[in-house]
């Protein structure tokens, strides 16, 4: 119920509330996958670290999006191989994703396009540092060892290459941009600047 209270500004539709768990069968892969995570411990660790790094200075303003939702979206993104935009859309329409995010009841107006914006997910990711990431993995491993599912007795170490795939900046691109910039500034007349709407 605490989670629903946080999300009440989205879940303000009319009609009866739908029970998310009723729509996701026990054998659904995303449900089974989500049930393996120690969510409470993971969220507590993130809350603790965020409180240290970015302390909240004021109690005013809208309640933040629950960390459980953001963490689950980020993990699901890598599990299903989707983009931020896709995951945020699926949170709006896919009951299995809602279940993985810890939402238990669903009631929203049709006009609401997103529960979580992709930019919010990106900001959440930017706050995670290496120490927190290691802590989250240690919590997951410790929970699995506690359950007796895995053992650290015999381990294998290896490395693999991961090429940089985000932004390929070449010298030719940089030169093209550098040459284009003074060209644009010299061709722009004062009349054009006055006709532009104020930013």
């Amino acid at each position: 119920m605490r989670l629903v209270r946080y999300l009440q500004h989205w879940l303000s539709g009319i009609g009866p509330r739908l029970q998310v768990a009723d729509f996701v069968p026990d054998s659904h892969p995303i449900r089974q996958w989500a049930d393996t995570f120690p969510w409470a411990a993971l969220v507590a660790a993130i809350e603790h670290r965020f409180a240290q790094r970015c302390p909240k200075r004021s109690l005013c303003g809208r309640a933040p999006i629950p960390l459980r939702v953001l963490l689950a979206l980020e993990l699901l993104k890598h599990e299903v191989g989707a983009s931020d935009e896709d995951m945020c859309h699926r949170l709006r329409t896919d009951f299995a994703v809602m279940y993985a995010c810890g939402l238990r009841e669903y009631q929203a107006p049709r006009s609401q396009a997103h529960f979580v914006l992709p930019e919010t997910l990106s900001e959440f990711r930017g706050r995670i540092d290496e120490a927190l990431m290691d802590e989250l993995m240690a919590i997951q491993a410790a929970a699995a060892m506690d359950e007796g599912l895995v053992s650290p007795a015999h381990l294998v170490v290896d490395t693999f290459p991961a090429e940089q795939g985000s932004q390929r900046v070449t010298d030719a691109t940089t030169l093209y941009k550098a040459q284009k910039k003074p060209l644009n500034s010299s061709t722009a007349s004062p009349g054009d600047a006055a006709a532009r709407p104020p930013s």
Partner: protein
Amino acid sequence: MRGFGRQCRGQGRIFVTLVRHTERQLLALGQPIHALGQRAQQLLAQADDINEAQREGLAMQLTAALGAHGHIRQQSGRLTQGKKLRHCKLVNAYDLTIAPILKGKSNCPAQFGRKPGIISEPATGFIFANHVPAGNPSDLSYVLPLLDKVQSAIDRVRSPKQLQVHSVAGDLGINDTALRQALHARGILTIGIPKTVAPINPTPTTEEILDILNKAGSSCQRTPDQVQLACTAGYSRPVVESHIASLLSRGAGQVRYKGLQGAVVQQGMTVMAHNGATLMRIRQQHLSKRAQKFRRLLGLRHRNVTQINDPKN
């Protein structure tokens, strides 16, 4: 710099003259940057309409930008003069921690990016920790940080059962005497790390087991059964490639987030998603015969999810 990356894979030509011509123009364009940067630092120190924290932040960003420009300028100057660059050269102007990866591909120029390391359980593929260093260090440097992370996970376990790392397996890249001694000092067997390209014997004789225990030293308090399992794990070390393939299928082969921190987050989240799928398989008993036998020998309990033995309600 145009020799790196996917664009130049295969039989593509590298246009050296065009690169050198472009570099000269860029160097000419960037000539006044150093003087402008120093002037900007002076003006920033005199600015009154910003507070101290803002001034410090801006000064830090300006210093970093000038440092990066100096690095790029030095490298570009050497390139235009036709000199060979040193090994750890700059390959991305926005991220100095990216380095060429000299492994993984045999039929194309070297990729550039990162080289994450993982430490996993050979039976099921559960990954206990990963490590994404800056640059491209040797595989040796991954082992101890990864083991430290595993130990921190073990320290979090609340069950009374004493969990320990008994053995570590790897490829020839981590075959080093100093590393073996460090692992033996921690009580960890190194029989899984090969010394030659020959495969490890999965069924050592009693004499061989005693020999392994003697070589490990007195600090390594291991039993013959544990040595036997360590040999089996070392023999089946190539199974780690399937764990890596699982990560690659989740997009770990291409770093899409910015910077070292972004790479750490992406790889970490991928590993956690993979671990979730692995735990799901373990609970459903969707494991190979070899994995089931290995788990039985390790004393890991079988959880029959379809049977309710002791209903609480």
